[in-house]
Symmetry: C2
């Protein structure tokens, strides 16, 4: 299989559009009552973030080392998260409408930044026009086969009786689309094609496993790649799913299993009692982490592994800082781990300035406007961490091996052609010495690449090579 | 006041889009189950007429003498009549979508045919996205002021409890727009401007009296005329409404009062027992008809009178043929009366081939595909009648006077500069002789203009001039 090269080299930034930045330039917002920016997030309430606001922040994102955006849904929706789509062909008016997406794509592409949208194709909203059509016309509606209806009359809004059609998670607001009905497939494939042709660089696919129609996702890939062979397809699948990364469906998955182990290893000792779906965030030591890493790396072809979307958190879970009980050292090591792994790291908006919050809806808070409210040290750290990844191709697509795993210490080697990197983590509270075999080291000299201020080369002159790692230290050496 | 010249000279044709012509070219129709073409019309059911179908029929309409189309609503809607709008910025997909309107406008304009759309701005549908928004978010929705909501939670679909928001005619499917809320005004004015800029030639305004917001219709006129000074604005007001035709709102009204008197006079003796709104279709004689004509002509400035939309029926009432109990002579005289009146005659689709049906939904039947099902004699008559109007400007914009009204006989004079026309109707079953004063006749000779085959000029050589009118005869003489 082949996956888009740009994705392997990307640093993603995930944006929850209602909460990242408000431009003040959206006329449709004049017409409505918004919740003030910074209100503690609740299930309802729009705070007025918009796509022009993202355009205004592109300098900031550039400086952060971001090369690709992943936006939570932006199509017309009555939900602040916009997973309840009512019009798949229009960007939500409160986000600035389709013109604002045009502006964002043009501005992002002008700086070689890509934009991936969230595709929600398993279910629509009660306000999606074909559902409205069925609601108004009952069995006489020509759209009756677009949904999975159990009996009549439909009850989408009855508080005292259950809904009587298939709905995602049994939420009446989210009628499932009948993807077994060919016209529905045609509709969704046209939406997929339409926005790729409009200029987006890929799709993150929401709950794709719930669409079980034979051949749907294969057809989806064909349509998308025909429109743009470089488009990136990443699925929201929370566990291992080798069948989905064999070249005929997605390029990568949201790498939740890696996230679970990453926070479990670097956060061991300070983890909150938190779980989400099948992620349990159990404390693990380096050997267990190394085993899990080996297991995960063996699941997929290398092309897919390099195109995974590696993350520490998302809009669907507590922020990593919060799970780590705001342990800054653990958090920074987890960030560096992501920046030195194959697979594209994805920063959830605001993590880089210290946002820390429990799960949905808390983790969807407004990005603070005033930088006095930012952790600017953390922001500088993030900038340096993404720069490290961008500087060394070997950290992005070099083959990976565990050289050493014991206690709280993990040493990894990355190799790409004649380039080598050593990446060492001491996640413990005590200094450690690791003795590396000289044979594990390249003949070319290794310069220090991390921390940015360090200037301690590593050479294979003595064997075994003693590696000194202070408490909570991360060290990277590279030959290039 | 000034009104668009083209409207004064137009022959309109009103189309109920789901039922006029099906092109077979609308892909969205492949996705749905349609009711077969020609099914007796019911409240629900789509038969698949579309805008490309109208394009296919433009030769037919040209030959009929039609120079302007008035289309019942075409924006996205879950109702076959499409008065329940869910998206004001999209043409309904089953009609071919916005691309089909582009094609229709281009094809119509290429033959100097105008297109007027139906604007439904007092109310939307339950599926209109801001209403959906309020439904999903309750009092937290930023669109809460767009409607007139009485309490929470909203009950748009509860069968056992009344709805709790203002709705047109208390129909829960039709929430009223709160036009007192400035953003709603801005929205509607933008819709008005948008489609005029897109290329339509005017708006027929649905139930305009129900929008009582001060200055709304004045602003509407300004926006529309700014976008196209030649745009035509015609209001659906069923009775007299001089305040609406003073130059600051509409150019004309749907002339239902004239329709009532016209069918009452020409149909006297064969009228069915039918009424609609305040139209009672009472049989009247020529003096009563002449009085009503004089009264109606005195209501408005001449500019407005010439821009009235004169009709015999519409989608909102029984067809004229049916009201007249299929009396062909009465029907043809009524048609000729409209063709010789100031104000643009409007043919309701299918009247010209003999469709005859009771009120809604029956009068919204599919136009027969097979011309074996047409009354082709009637069609030829219509072609001749529109040609008569087009041939003689005096019949369109000439001043009008009643020369004679007695029993079942009415004689009218039209004058425009040095042109004169005499129009005489004998709506009775007996031949009559009318003695016209020579002073009432022009010095220029009068040639016979109707019936088409006649060749009997009229001259003022003798006085009084005896005018012989056979039973149910219509005669027209003109100087030009």
């Amino acid at each position: 299989m082949t996956t888009p090269d740009w994705a392997k080299h990307a640093v993603f930034y995930q944006i929850f559009p209602d909460r990242f930045a408000r431009s003040g330039a959206v006329e449709a917002q004049e017409a409505v009552q918004l919740t003030p920016w910074g209100t503690p997030p609740a299930e309802q309430g729009f705070q007025g973030g918009d796509l022009y606001g993202i355009v205004d922040r592109l300098d900031y994102l550039d400086a952060l080392g971001v090369t690709a955006l992943y936006l939570n849904p932006i199509f017309a929706s009555a939900a602040n998260h916009r997973y309840h789509t009512y019009d798949y062909y229009e960007v939500d008016p409160l986000l600035g409408g389709t013109d604002a997406l045009r502006a964002l794509l043009d501005a992002a592409h002008a700086r070689d930044m890509r934009v991936v949208l969230d595709g929600v194709f398993n279910h629509a909203s009660r306000g999606f026009w074909p559902f409205h059509h069925v609601l108004e016309n009952g069995p006489d509606s020509p759209y009756v086969d677009w949904f999975k209806i159990e009996d009549w009359p439909l009850r989408p809004y009855a508080s005292d009786q259950p809904h009587n059609y298939a709905a995602w998670y049994d939420i009446p607001a989210l009628p499932e689309l009948n993807t077994d009905h060919p016209p529905v497939q045609d509709f969704l494939l046209d939406v997929a094609r339409h926005w790729i042709a409009f200029g987006i660089d890929g799709w993150r696919l929401d709950v794709p496993r719930e669409i079980e129609t034979d051949g749907f996702w294969e057809a989806f890939r064909t349509v998308v790649k025909d429109a743009n062979p470089e488009a990136y397809l990443v699925g929201e699948i929370w566990d291992e799913a080798p069948a989905w990364l064999q070249g005929d469906r997605f390029d990568g998955l949201m790498n939740y299993p890696l996230l679970d182990a990453t926070l479990g290893f670097f956060g061991a000792g300070s983890l909150r009692d938190y779980s989400k779906a099948h992620l349990t965030f159990d404390p693990i030591d380096a050997p267990a982490f190394a085993d899990e890493l080996d297991r995960l790396l063996a699941l997929y072809e290398w092309e897919a592994t390099c195109a995974q979307l590696n993350l520490l958190d998302s809009h669907d879970m507590a922020r990593a800082q919060w799970i780590l009980n705001n342990n800054p050292a653990a958090f920074r090591q987890a960030v560096l781990f992501l920046m030195t792994m194959p697979g594209a790291p994805c920063i959830y908006y605001g993590d880089e300035i210290g946002l820390s919050a429990a799960g949905d809806p808390h983790c969807r808070e407004a990005f603070p406007r005033d930088d006095a409210d930012w952790d600017t040290d953390l922001l500088s750290f993030y900038q340096a961490a993404t720069a490290l990844r961008h500087r060394h191709e070997v950290l992005r697509t070099g083959r990976i091996e565990v050289l050493h795993a014991s206690g709280r210490t993990l040493v990894l080697r990355r190799t790409l052609a004649d380039a080598t990197a050593l990446v060492a983590f001491n996640a413990g509270a005590d200094a450690v010495q690791v003795a590396l075999e000289a044979a594990a080291l390249p003949t070319k000299p290794l310069s220090s690449a991390w921390p940015p201020s360090a200037n301690a080369p590593l050479s294979a002159s003595s064997s075994p090579l003693p590696l000194s790692l202070p408490p909570r230290a991360t060290r990277v050496w590279t030959t290039d």
